[in-house]
Amino acid sequence: MLRTLTSNRMNENGYPFKLSREQLYYEFVSVSKEKQVQKIVLISRTDVAGIYNLALLDVLSDGSLCDISETNNNDLRIVIATVIKIMGDFLTKNSNSYVIFRGSDSRRQRLYSIVIGRELVEFSKVYEVYGVKDGVRYPFSVNNSYEFYLIKKKL
């Protein structure tokens, strides 16, 4: 099941997205027959120049933001593909920058690790992929767990 959900992310079609001019975030809409859910990929400057924090957020019906909601729209693979494309868009436009992220909970953190692991061969053609643990950055390895993931486009 998970294999189906997480395979071939880089070749997966994603939702159309647009870059906000006012703030550094991208918006897209997760669509199913049952509902539409607005999603935001927020890319924030960190205290370290050249490193940007990435967060995937749901916009709830009252406009509030949530990073732990269960969308349950049966489109996880499309959502992940979209986030990867957005990250690629950002890193192409900011080619010397890093994007750092982690899951909002342990389950999502594990999911991201699985996705990166499955995509590593394809990813590594385009990106430098690292895991951060105990204050050290390591080349991403499928056999290790990390606190954060750090990605940069190869120059």
Binding site: D47, G63, K133, V136
Partner: protein, 51 residues
């Protein structure tokens, strides 16, 4: 005229405090991170670090 909450800037929306908290956590981690890679120093091999 009522302004839709969906049109509010992100930082003024409910839930943004969680986003800010996690960004603060990220910044705290970055303060502990060896940032020499920003000067293009290669990353250590984790598998060789397990001795």
């Amino acid at each position: 005229m009522k302004v839709s909450k969906k049109n509010l800037p992100l930082e003024k929306r409910k839930g943004y405090e969680i986003v800010q908290k996690k960004l603060d956590e990220c910044n705290a981690m970055l303060r502990t991170l060896d940032l020499s890679f920003l000067d293009n120093k290669p990353a250590p091999n984790q598998d060789n670090d397990k001795s």
